[in-house]
């Protein structure tokens, strides 16, 4: 009896402690693209401010913005800007989402390292994904069928690809569709005839990045705007941020703090 009483008391404390002594909590939800940035910036931030706990989860840009709308998060990560439909929903609920660009992402077409093609124009990329070009020899490569790999139509990465490369044309239904950057890396590194696209943070030795319009995708070409397939990544707050949320957003934007982490994670920092 006594034992169970102790047990109950300790459970009680575990449940209510966060409310009293660790009151300063920040919740972050949203895009899986922004997740690695948020995670490592939060780790650095918590090391400097041990009395703050930050809980981070993924779930996608749509879910993040949904969480801002229903008030279940302080910060929503998004790899795209808020959509008109979502703004309408927000206005209906009296929520005013404020965007902060926290980093740039650069999406790079990749092939197997043995592929001899070096450069593709935006139009060639579009024709490949449209299904008009189906053989590597049409773009100066070997006489092999192209295996076209894309991301899910719902992912933020796809959205950027659709906007910057496809320009409102549709990706051919025969295109293989994978659910994450990681699985694209996996497939391309194992398939000699495949082409895909990943965020710059996912480039590694098992992939060969292609130039687009003769421009190499890099930190420099993303920031000066010459690389055609890049996008800003956002954090949304409900109204202008206050208190701990404001401190965190300021931290992530500082060139000597958060932006350093952004670069380390393989994304393109703002400055």
């Amino acid at each position: 009896m006594k034992k169970s009483l102790y047990f109950l008391v300790s459970i009680f404390f575990i449940c209510f402690c966060p409310l009293s002594s660790f009151a300063k909590q920040i919740v972050i939800k949203g895009s899986t693209t922004v997740l690695p940035i948020a995670q490592s910036v939060a780790e650095a931030y918590m090391k400097e401010n041990p009395n703050i706990s930050i809980s981070i989860s993924g779930g996608g840009s749509g879910n993040g913005i949904k969480a801002i709308l229903d008030g279940s998060t302080d910060i929503a990560n998004a790899s795209r800007f808020i959509k008109a439909k979502e703004i309408k929903l927000a206005m209906g609920k009296g929520v005013y989402p404020v965007p902060f660009a926290v980093a740039y992402d650069c999406i790079i077409p990749v092939v197997h390292p043995t592929n001899s093609v070096q450069n593709l124009t935006l139009n060639q990329l579009k024709d490949i994904y449209k299904g008009k070009i189906t053989n590597w020899k049409e773009v100066g490569g070997a006489n092999k069928k192209i295996v076209v790999v894309s991301r899910d139509t719902a992912s933020g990465t796809y959205e950027v690809w659709a906007k910057k490369v496809m320009q409102k044309e549709r990706i051919h239904p025969r295109t293989t569709v994978l659910a994450s950057n990681g699985s694209i890396v996996q497939l391309i590194s194992k398939n000699k005839n495949a082409i895909g696209y990943v965020g710059i943070g996912y480039l590694n030795k098992s992939l060969k990045p292609l130039k687009v319009n003769n421009i190499k995708g890099s930190l420099e070409t993303t920031l000066d705007g010459t690389f055609p397939i890049s996008r800003p990544l956002f954090m949304f707050t409900n109204g202008w941020p206050k208190g701990e949320t404001k401190k965190f957003i300021t931290y992530i934007l500082r060139p000597d703090k958060g932006q350093k982490v952004v670069k380390k994670e393989g994304f393109v920092p703002l400055y």
Binding site: N63, K66, P173, V177, A179, A194
Partner: protein, 295 residues
């Protein structure tokens, strides 16, 4: 008096628990309908079920799930074609032929396969089977209908095998002995007596294995290749319904058309599994053996 009271309390408690779980299930169904049906404001049922294009994020979007339905059905069919003969032969071996010692070794292994998390099987298909198909069979892309069916067959074999083995096992010894006494060989006894006597159990096993294949999400997401088109060969990539829901739900705008379209796919999937269950029920009743061999 006290005992009667106790009895009553226990009875009512169980009643309440049963109704709570039924109520919860009904709630989930209601939710599925209320979130899924709004999609029919923007597309007709015919366009939704038989449309050939799935471009949910375009402006204007296309919500045709026919390629997804075909993908789910073809994956289920192909995986059962692979799994059913193997699993039933395994079950026959274990129940009729193998020595008890052999059973003690083999059965735990089968149960081990059943307990493998689906993500591990998906990973195996992606890392090992896909490159293997590309390198040794000259397939352009390793993530395809064949690969995913193979992985799903691997997952449903333990289910089918264990349940059919139980069914075979419960055939009374008297039947077998009668068959032997009439001069039948072991093979004849198995084919003409034991299998017909346990056919309803075996069918239940097959359909349960198929439900597992049609509802499996993780493997389909990782290994199927994800192209929303009607496959022309077994080496084409496909996009089964659960994979589509899992991949897109996270990014679909809340309560938008895409969101309810995904719920509507969930509804279709639910109906498929429901039909499977009805078939099980029907067969179990129709082929029920009467008398000594009742299963």
């Amino acid at each position: 008096m006290k005992r009667e009271k106790k009895e009553k309390i226990i009875k009512n408690t169980f009643l309440i628990i049963t109704f709570t779980s039924i109520l919860l299930l009904a709630g989930i169904m209601l939710f599925l309908f209320s979130e899924g049906l709004p999609v029919f404001k923007s597309v007709t049922l015919k366009e939704f079920l038989f449309g050939h294009f799935w471009y949910p994020t375009d402006e204007p979007p296309d919500f045709g799930i026919f390629p997804l339905i075909v993908a789910s059905l073809s994956v289920t069919l192909l995986s059962s074609l692979i799994a059913v003969p193997l699993a039933i032969m395994m079950a026959i071996y274990l129940s009729e032929i193998a020595s008890p010692k052999m059973c003690e070794i083999v059965k735990p292994i089968i149960e081990l396969i059943a307990s493998l998390p689906s993500v591990v099987i998906g990973f195996f298909g992606m890392i090992v089977v896909a490159p293997f198909l590309q390198d040794y069979f000259g397939v352009v892309l390793g993530l395809n209908l064949f690969n995913v069916s193979l992985m799903l067959a691997f997952m449903s074999i333990p289910t089918i095998c264990t349940i059919s083995e139980d069914a075979l096992h419960s055939v009374p010894v008297a039947l077998r002995e009668a068959s032997f006494a009439l001069g039948a060989t072991k093979l004849e006894t198995i084919i003409k007596v034991v299998i017909p006597a346990s056919i309803s159990g075996i069918t239940t096993a097959i359909i349960l294995g198929m439900s597992r294949a049609i509802g499996e999400t993780m493997v389909a997401l990782m290994v199927a290749g994800g192209a929303a088109m009607i496959p022309l060969s077994i080496f084409d990539p496909v996009r089964p319904m659960p994979a589509s829901i899992a991949a897109e739900m996270a990014e679909a705008p809340f309560r938008g058309e895409h969101y309810s379209a995904l719920f509507a796919i969930g509804l279709v999937l639910f109906l498929f599994v429901l039909v499977f269950n009805f078939i099980v029920d029907f067969i179990a009743h129709k082929y029920q053996e009467i008398g000594d061999s009742t299963l």
